[in-house]
Amino acid sequence: MKNQNLLLIDDDKEDQEIFLEALVKVSTVASCITMQDAAVALQKLSANDIFPDLIFLDLNMPGMNGEQFLLEIKRCEKLRKVPVIILSSSSHLSNIQLSIDLGAGHFITKTNPYEEFLQELSYLLN
C-alpha cells in the first residue's frame, strides 16, 4: 500500500481537524503528521526526520507560504518526487495555475462541499 504516510501543512487548526476527520472516514490505514509551519516542515523533511508518501499543503500561511514551500521542495533532489497536493481555500485560477506550474500534483479546493472533499481524498488514497 502506498500513500499512507501523510504530511499536512496548514496553519489553521480547525482545517487540520476537518482534514483528520475526513481521513478517518476514507482510510483505516493512513497516518498523518500535521504541521502548522511550512518552514519547520521543510526543515524536518530535509533532515530526514519525516518521510511522507504524500504532502497536503495549504497555500495561505504566515511565514513561509505554500508556494515558497513548493518551490523549495521541488528544488531539492531528494524531496522532489514526493507528491504534493494543494489544499487551499482559494479557488483563484492564478493560484491553481501557479501551483501546477510549480509542480503540485493536484489541487483540492477547501471550499468544495464536504462530500466532494471526502470523495477526492478517498480517490487520492485508495
Binding site: 476537518i18 479557488s91 485560477l93 471550499t111 464536504y114
Partner: protein, 819 residues
C-alpha cells in the same frame, strides 16, 4: 677628202663623238699644219678622245696655228648660221676675229706661261644666228702638254651663262626701280622674306613711326600695332606667309606723336621668276581721317537710332513724297499692328485704312507746307490682326528739312491713350459701384479717407454699430466723431493698414461702444482693407464689420455649461471607475473571506449531524439539514461571485487552445451526471483558437452543466455541439471586427428551453427563470459565459423555445487582432 673607213686603226681615238666625231673623221687634216691624224702626237689623240667623249662644252686649240677642235656640247653655243662647221680645223685667229683681243691673251697665257685661267659670267660676244650676240660665259683655259713636255695646245672648257646673267641684271634693275619708287612715295611699303621676317621698310614707314629701319626690322613693327588689332593682324599675316597667299587688313599703329594711325594694308605674295615664294610686299595707306569720320557718323547714327529704338512711345520717320518708312521703333510698329517688317515700305501702303480717316492728307499737307501738325486724343481706327480697332492717340507730324531748307521727310510721334480713356471710364464706374455696394451691404461698411481716417461714406448698419447718427460722424475723423472708440487699439490698426496696405481682420474683437448713451461691451468681426487709387497709392481704408456680440455671449455661455458638465462628467466617471474597481476588489475579498467561516459552518454542521444524527429528533434533524442547505447555497453564491469578480480583473493569458480537448475534458468531468441522466452528447470537430484555457473550460463546463441541469422530463437529453463560419453580414450585425475570422459554436439541447422573450435577460447576473426548488443554481452561469466570450472579443446569444430546448451560440475569433 679621205674616207675614214679603211683606216680604222688610224682613227681609233676618234671613235664615237657624235656629229663632231663624224666631222673630225671626215675632215681633210692633211691641209692643216697638223697633217693627217696618223702623224698626230699621242697627247693630241688623248686630249681629243677626252673632248669627244665629254658632254661638257670643250674647245681645243692645238699647234702653232691653234687649229681648232670642239665637241657636240660646244657646237650648240656656236648657234646656227655662224661659225659652225667652218670652225673645225680652222685657225683660231681666223675663227674669232671679233673677239680675238679678248681670247688671245687668255690662250697665250696658257701657251706661254702654262697657266690656267678662270672666268665667270664674262661677256664674250659671238657671231651666231646671223648676228653678233652678247654672250656670257663661265670658262677655263688650261694648257695641254705634249710629249716633249712643252705646252702644245690650250683646252677651253666653258658653259654659256647668258640667261642667268641677263635675268640677274633684269632683277637688279627692277629692284633698284622698286627701291626708288618705294622711297619716294607716301605709301607705306615694306617687304618680308619667305620666313616672314621683314626685310625692308620705306622712308614713309620710318617717318610715320619715328623708328629706325633696324628697330622696325626687329619685329618692332608688330609691337607698334594697337593691342586690340595686333593679334588679329599678325595672325592674318602669318597665315598668309604660311599659305603663300596675299593678306589684307586694317589696323592702328602707334605713330611718332604717340597717337594711333589707322592703316589699310594690302600685301600680295611675291614669287621669283622661277615661281618660288620669296615673301610678301605690303603697301599701306593711312585711313585715319576716313576712319574717324566713319566712326563719328556711325556713332551719331547709332545714337539717334538708339534714342528712337529705346523710346517707349512710338516714333517713325517717313521720307519722300511717298512717305517711305525709314525708321520706326518697336512701339510704332506695334501701334501700326502690321508686324515688324515695315522699314522701306510706304506708310500709305502699310496703313491703307488711314486713307479714309484724313490722315494721309494731313501728312501730305505737312510735307508740302513744312508746318507741323499735332493731334490730341484723336480717334484712329487701325486694323490689327485683321480687325479694325478703335484707338485714341495724341500724335504729331513734324517736318524734316534738308540742308537746302526743303522738307524731305516727316517725324511721326504718337501716344496711344486708348487704354487711358477706357481705364478712366472704368475707374469711375467701379467707384460708383463700390459706393452703391457699401450703401446696400447687409453688413456694416464704411470708407475712411486720408491719414486722419475721415468718414467719407458709411451705411446705415455702420452708424448703428457706432451708435451714432450720420451727422455726428460724417466727414470727420472717426475718432473725432466717435471719441468712445479711442484708446481701444484701433488707432494703431488703422494707421498700420493705411501705411502698409496690409489687410487686417479680426474675429470676435471685444470693444466698448456707445449704446443709448452708455458704453457697452460688444464683439465684432471686422476687416480693414486699404482703399487704393487707380495708380495703386493708398488713399483710405475700407472697413467692414459684423456685430457678433450675441453669438459670442451665447458661445461663452455654452462653453461655460459644457465646461461645467464636462468636469462633472469626468468626476462622475472617475468615481464610477473607482467604485467599479472597489466593487470588484470588494467582491473578491468579501467572497473569499466569507467562504472560510461558511465552509467551517457547513463542515462542522455535517460532522455534528454525523455524530449525533441518529440520536436526534426529527425537528432537530430538519434544522440541521436547513443549516447545511443554506450554507451550501451561500457557499455556491459566494463562489460564483468570486469567479465573476475574478473575470473582471483577470490578467488574460491568451494561448493556443484546442477546443476539442476542452470539450472532451468537460465531458469527462460530467461523466457521472451524463451517465445518470442517460444523456447523448454529440459533437463535431472543433477548431484550435487563441484563448485563455481556463476560461474556455469554465465556458464549456457551464454550458454543459446547464444542458444537463435543465433536462426535459419526458425525453432523454440530447446535447449537440456543432460549428460554423461567421458570415460578413453576421459579423456586421454582431458588431465584430470584419477583418478577423470567427467560429460559431452552437450548443443545443432538447431540454426545457426558455421563453423567447427572456433571451436577453438570461445573460443578466443572478437572473433566474426557475424556482430554486425546481432547479438549483445561483444565476451567475450564463452571465459568466457571456463575460468570457466578451473577454475573448467574441459574443454570445441564445435562441430558445419552450418546446425544443435551448440553443446557445458562442462566437469566438480564431486569432486575435494584432491590435
Amino acid at each position: 677628202m679621205k674616207a675614214p673607213s679603211g683606216t680604222n686603226d688610224e682613227w681609233y681615238f676618234l671613235s664615237g663623238g657624235g656629229e663632231m666625231g663624224e666631222l673630225i673623221r671626215r675632215f681633210n687634216w692633211s691641209g692643216t699644219s697638223l697633217g693627217p691624224p696618223g702623224q698626230w702626237p699621242q697627247s693630241l689623240r688623248l686630249t681629243l678622245s677626252i673632248i669627244l667623249s665629254s658632254k661638257f662644252p670643250m674647245l681645243l686649240w692645238w699647234g702653232d696655228d691653234l687649229v681648232q677642235f670642239y665637241n657636240d656640247a660646244y657646237r650648240e653655243s656656236l648657234g646656227d648660221n655662224g661659225k659652225h662647221p667652218k670652225a673645225l680645223g680652222q685657225k683660231a685667229k681666223d675663227c674669232w676675229p671679233e673677239t680675238w683681243h679678248i681670247i688671245y691673251p687668255l690662250i697665250n697665257k696658257g701657251l706661254t706661261r702654262a697657266e690656267a685661267t678662270w672666268g665667270e659670267d664674262q661677256l664674250i660676244p659671238i657671231y651666231r644666228n646671223g648676228k653678233i650676240e652678247d654672250v656670257y660665259w663661265t670658262y677655263s683655259y688650261s694648257p695641254v702638254f705634249g710629249e716633249t713636255g712643252n705646252v702644245e695646245g690650250v683646252l677651253m672648257v666653258c658653259t654659256e651663262t647668258t640667261k642667268k646673267v641677263l635675268s640677274r641684271k633684269l632683277l637688279e634693275g627692277s629692284e633698284q626701280r622698286f627701291r626708288m619708287m618705294a622711297e619716294s612715295t607716301d605709301i607705306f611699303i615694306a617687304t618680308s622674306d619667305r620666313s616672314g621676317d621683314a626685310n625692308f621698310f620705306n622712308k614713309a614707314w620710318l617717318n610715320l613711326t619715328g623708328r629706325s629701319l633696324d628697330e622696325l626690322l626687329q619685329f618692332g613693327w608688330a609691337d607698334l600695332i594697337h593691342p586690340d588689332d595686333r593679334d588679329e593682324f599678325v595672325s592674318n599675316y602669318m597665315k598668309a606667309n604660311r599659305n603663300r597667299t596675299s593678306f589684307k587688313g586694317e589696323f592702328r599703329i602707334l605713330n611718332k606723336n604717340g597717337q594711333y594711325s589707322w592703316l589699310l594694308a594690302k600685301g600680295p605674295a611675291r614669287f621669283d621668276s622661277e615661281g618660288a615664294f620669296v615673301g610678301h610686299i605690303s603697301s599701306c595707306v593711312d585711313i585715319t581721317t576716313h576712319k574717324k569720320t566713319e566712326q563719328r557718323l556711325k556713332e551719331s547714327e547709332q545714337e539717334m537710332r538708339s534714342i528712337v529704338e529705346s523710346a517707349h512711345f512710338p516714333i517713325g520717320v517717313y521720307v519722300g513724297r511717298k512717305m517711305k518708312i525709314k525708321l520706326a521703333n518697336k512701339a510704332m510698329m506695334e501701334v501700326m499692328g502690321k508686324g515688324y517688317d515695315v522699314i522701306g515700305k510706304s506708310y500709305f501702303e502699310i496703313l491703307p485704312e488711314l486713307g479714309s480717316q484724313e490722315i494721309f492728307q494731313k501728312l501730305k499737307d505737312v510735307y508740302t507746307s513744312g508746318t507741323p501738325y499735332h493731334a490730341v486724343n484723336q480717334r484712329v481706327d487701325i486694323f490689327i490682326n485683321g480687325k479694325l480697332r478703335k484707338h485714341f492717340f495724341n500724335y504729331s507730324f513734324t517736318p524734316l528739312f534738308n540742308t537746302a531748307g526743303k522738307v524731305y521727310g516727316i517725324v511721326n510721334t504718337a501716344a496711344d491713350v486708348t487704354e487711358l480713356n477706357f481705364a478712366t471710364l472704368k475707374v469711375r464706374e467701379s467707384e460708383r459701384n463700390l459706393r452703391e455696394t457699401i450703401l446696400q451691404a447687409p453688413v456694416a461698411m464704411c470708407i475712411f479717407r486720408g491719414p486722419r481716417h475721415v468718414v467719407e461714406l458709411a451705411n446705415k448698419r455702420m452708424f448703428e454699430l457706432w451708435g451714432k447718427e450720420a451727422e455726428e460722424v460724417m466727414h470727420k475723423s472717426i475718432f473725432e466723431g466717435l471719441p468712445e472708440a479711442k484708446n481701444q487699439g484701433l488707432e494703431i490698426l488703422l494707421d498700420h493698414v493705411y501705411r502698409t496696405g496690409n489687410t487686417f481682420s479680426a474675429q470676435g474683437e471685444r470693444l466698448k461702444l456707445p449704446r443709448d448713451g452708455k458704453l457697452e461691451t460688444i464683439y465684432l468681426n471686422f476687416v480693414y482693407e486699404a482703399y487704393r487709387e487707380p495708380g495703386g497709392e493708398i488713399s483710405g481704408i475700407l472697413a467692414m464689420a459684423i456685430d457678433v456680440t450675441s453669438q459670442v455671449t451665447t458661445h461663452q455661455k455654452i462653453e461655460e455649461v459644457v465646461d461645467k458638465r464636462t468636469k462633472q462628467l469626468a468626476e462622475a466617471n472617475y468615481d464610477l471607475q473607482k467604485s467599479n474597481d472597489e466593487l470588484a476588489q470588494f467582491a473578491h475579498i468579501a467572497s473569499h473571506d466569507l467562504q472560510e467561516p461558511l465552509r467551517k459552518i457547513s463542515i462542522f454542521t455535517q460532522l455534528l449531524e454525523n455524530k449525533i444524527g441518529k440520536a436526534m429528533d426529527d425537528p432537530s434533524r430538519d434544522y440541521l439539514r436547513k443549516i447545511r442547505k443554506s450554507s451550501s447555497r451561500m457557499h455556491k453564491m459566494i463562489k460564483d461571485i468570486l469567479t465573476y469578480s475574478e473575470l473582471i480583473k483577470e490578467v488574460k493569458a491568451f494561448t493556443e487552445v484546442d477546443l476539442n480537448q476542452v470539450l472532451e475534458s468537460t465531458i469527462m468531468d460530467y461523466e457521472l451526471l451524463i451517465e445518470q441522466r442517460g444523456a447523448n452528447v454529440k459533437y463535431e470537430k472543433l477548431p484550435v483558437i487563441i484563448a485563455v484555457p481556463l476560461q474556455m473550460s469554465q465556458l464549456f463546463g457551464n454550458l454543459m452543466g446547464n444542458a444537463l441541469k435543465f433536462v426535459h422530463q419526458e425525453r432523454s437529453p440530447v446535447i449537440s455541439i456543432s460549428t460554423s463560419e461567421v458570415s460578413l453580414t453576421e459579423k456586421q450585425k454582431l458588431n465584430l471586427d470584419t477583418g478577423l475570422e470567427y467560429v460559431k459554436i452552437r450548443f443545443a439541447d432538447n431540454g426545457i428551453g426558455f421563453n423567447e422573450e427572456y433571451k436577453e435577460q438570461i445573460f443578466n447576473i443572478f437572473q433566474r427563470l426557475h424556482g430554486k426548488s425546481e432547479y438549483e443554481g445561483t444565476g451567475i452561469g450564463l452571465a459568466l459565459c457571456k463575460k468570457i466570450t466578451l473577454n475573448h472579443f467574441g459574443g454570445m446569444n441564445a435562441e430558445g423555445s419552450s418546446e425544443n430546448g435551448a440553443v446557445f451560440n458562442i462566437i469566438l475569433p480564431l486569432k486575435l487582432s494584432e491590435k
